[in-house]
């Protein structure tokens, strides 16, 4: 069971080593990186490559650690007791399995994705320490211990909005997806658009890296934006010479909506275009 990237995903050597270490030793892999560099997609691709089912747990600011284990719906039980429902006598009827429980008891070894862990409260990772370390937890309501049949492969992504506690980090492997260089980017494009015109890609990448280098951008376009933009260019059948003969007075690249995601950035480009139009006297 070795991860070598897939038909849809270009994995760099360091990423492969990190993934293989995590899958082999069954410790969680923490993935960080700029938004849009393929952190979430990674888990899906690992699942595909290993032929394992993917269990996704998307974290929000309101997510609590115990929701990943189980939830006891006391309110529903109270209500049922009022209505005289027979289900009320068995507490198990009111325990809802969380994603971790699901992953621990899955019939086939799953890949568990804990997406954007930094969105949750600062204590969230600490609350999951034991559960992820021992891959077991205790259900107070039914007095049973849920233990993983086989330690699942856990992928955790973070956008760095909050620092994660040391004790949590010690239990993980860590990988930082750095922004792909040109060669890697070319490989990624080849995977997504086989047979795309070489010239078009090369021109588009010139423009793309130029846009990324413009100082002061609020949100730098990343891989996923480049792919979207290429898709648009292809769809619109943009003639090559539009990209090629770029007029400095038109600083905004064609179909810029896919690359620039907020109005301040677009204004910045308009200002640049305006400066370029001004005579240099």
């Amino acid at each position: 069971m070795r991860f070598e990237g897939t038909d849809n995903y270009v994995a760099t050597d360091d990423l492969k080593v990190a993934v293989n270490a995590a899958t082999k030793l069954r410790r969680p892999l923490l993935v960080k990186g700029e938004p849009g560099t393929g952190k979430t997609v990674l888990a899906q691709e690992i699942a595909t490559a290993l032929g394992a089912p993917l269990i996704e747990w998307n974290i929000k600011s309101t997510t609590k650690a115990h929701q990943g284990l189980y939830e006891y719906d006391a309110v529903a039980r109270l209500r049922d007791s009022q209505l005289g429902d027979a289900r009320v006598h068995d507490i198990k009827n009111y325990i809802k399995k969380g994603k971790l429980w699901e992953a621990f008891t899955a019939p086939q070894l799953p890949v568990l994705l804990i997406d954007e862990i930094d969105k949750a409260d600062i204590e969230f990772p600490n609350d999951l320490l034991q559960e992820l370390d021992r891959m077991e937890f205790f259900v107070y309501e039914t007095q049973e211990t849920i233990k993983a049949v086989e330690r699942p492969i856990v992928i955790i992504t973070s956008n760095n909005e909050k620092e994660l506690p040391d004790a949590f980090l010690r239990r993980c492997f860590f990988h930082y997806i750095k922004f792909p260089d040109r060669t890697t980017m070319q490989a990624i494009i080849d995977v997504h658009f086989p047979g795309i015109q070489k010239m078009l890609v090369s021109k588009a990448m010139d423009i793309f890296y130029e846009v990324r280098d413009v100082p002061g951008l609020k949100k730098k376009p990343s891989t996923s934006e480049l792919l979207d933009w290429l898709k648009l260019l292809l769809h619109e059948d943009m003639p090559l010479d539009v990209l090629q003969s770029r007029d400095p007075t038109k600083a905004i690249p064609p179909l810029h909506g896919a690359l620039l995601k907020n109005e301040q950035d677009i204004m910045l480009f308009e200002r640049l275009a305006f400066m370029a139009r001004r005579p240099n006297s």
């Binding site: 050597d13 360091d14 080593v17 990190a18 293989n20 270490a21 995590a22 082999k24 030793l25 410790r27 892999l29 923490l30 960080k32 309101t62 006391a74 309110v75 109270l78 209500r79 009022q82 600062i122 909050k162 620092e163 994660l164 040391d166 980090l169 010690r170 239990r171 993980c172 492997f173 860590f174 990988h175 930082y176 750095k178 100082p215 002061g216």
Partner: protein
């Protein structure tokens, strides 16, 4: 194994623990990687470093510790001990393959030929990047040995691997941040103000009992959870006379970022004027207009300004007094705008309180913030937080 490596890492400030060291050994034991130094580097990195800001430091330590070993290994292939090669070959070659190789001659002969071939290649290729051609028929090429073995054939990975950490791609992620900010964080807790807002998701027991008693049937009441609703705007003086206090400010900054959910920060130099910035490297190209700041963040933000307030008095009192640019309006005007927009404003001064009296500008600033200047010590911070958490009227 790797004790000196671990020691070097720890002395470089990468707090790799025994747990991680054992994980690395376990991974090596489980044959997660092949035997190329490049892969070892990647594995060590993924195991021992947990913060992208430390990646650059890791690269440096790795380069330092393994330099002698890998370059020697990469550049003088002739020195590779024969029994080592043999051991690897035995590990990865099937008996049939071994027999095939035996046909070509005994092990010693084989090694002798290999050595010779390597020497020849060494002479031809100055850089020694490719010792043995990648052609398919030679047993010394890529195809002769298991792909997981020492890659004698094919493209030499060793050279490239050395480059990987020598490239130091993560350099600008390194920000030396200080640990041990717990005291500061605790002082800042004074600022916590819990409020219930957002989604209703907590069972309000009191309300439920009340409602049930009133209605005669079970009346469930829910309420939003308590959250820290405090909002903080941090403005930091950078450069020049602030240099001796960098460490202190970093501690404050790192504690503040982890303590407050709604924290915004800006930098200024000496005295705030019409523009502030968020990135010190781009302080001239990426400025935020002070007016935008004043308009964007509502009055209930708590403003914490950090600076030594040591400058020429003209920098505060006169238009055009700034040392960096021509300011059309004086710093005092801007200070006044800040304090009138944000009733809860304090100034933290890293200079010891005894010395404030000797500096004209400190006195002026202190007046401008209505005497709410506090020394940047734990007690000062505590007082400042107390001041900020008072109710402020408009």
């Amino acid at each position: 194994m790797f004790f000196s490596f671990m020691e070097e890492l720890r002395s470089a400030g990468i707090s790799a623990s025994l747990k991680e060291h054992l994980a690395l050994l376990a991974a090596l034991d489980a044959d997660v990687i092949g035997q190329s130094p490049e892969e070892f580097y990647y594995l060590a990195r993924t195991t021992l470093v947990k913060d992208e800001a430390l990646l650059d430091r890791f690269d440096q330590v790795f380069g330092k510790v393994f330099k002698g070993i890998f370059t020697e290994y990469g550049q003088n292939p002739v020195d590779v001990p024969a029994d080592w090669l043999k051991a690897i070959a035995e590990k990865y070659l099937s008996p049939e393959e071994m027999a095939k190789i035996e046909k070509m001659g005994s092990w010693d002969e084989l090694m002798e030929t290999l050595k010779k071939r390597l020497e020849e290649q060494e002479k031809r290729h100055q850089g020694g990047n490719k010792w043995v051609g990648t052609g398919g028929t030679s047993p010394y090429g890529n195809s002769g040995y298991h792909p997981e073995g020492v890659r004698i054939g094919g493209e030499s990975k060793h050279k490239r691997a050395v480059k990987v950490w020598d490239k130091r791609e993560f350099q600008n992620l390194d920000h030396t941040k200080e640990l041990g900010t717990r005291n500061i964080k605790i002082a800042m807790r004074r600022l916590r103000r819990f409020a219930r807002d957002g989604a209703v998701e907590e069972l309000d027991i009191e309300g439920t009992i009340n409602g049930t008693a009133r209605q005669g049937w079970l009346d469930i009441k829910m309420r939003p959870e308590r959250r820290n609703a405090i909002k903080v705007l941090l403005m930091l003086d950078v450069g020049g006379s602030m240099d001796p206090f960098i460490k202190l400010c970093e501690e404050l900054f790192s504690a503040a970022t982890s303590e407050f959910k709604n924290l915004e920060f800006f930098y200024f130099h000496n005295c705030p004027y019409e523009g502030v910035w968020k990135d010190n490297k781009r302080r001239f190209s990426e400025r935020t207009q002070m007016w935008d700041v004043l308009h964007k963040f509502p009055h209930d933000y708590k403003v914490v300004m950090v600076g030594d307030a040591s400058m020429s008095p003209y920098e505060i009192t006169h238009p055009g007094g700034s040392v960096e640019h021509f300011n059309e309006e004086s710093g005092a005007v801007w200070m006044h705008r800040i304090t009138s927009t944000y009733p809860a404003t304090v100034w933290l001064n890293p200079v010891p309180e005894k010395q404030w009296g000797y500096s004209q500008s400190t006195k002026i600033i202190k007046e401008l913030v209505n005497d709410r200047m506090y020394p940047l010590t734990l007690e000062g911070l505590d007082d400042a937080m107390r001041e900020l958490s008072r109710k402020h009227g408009h």
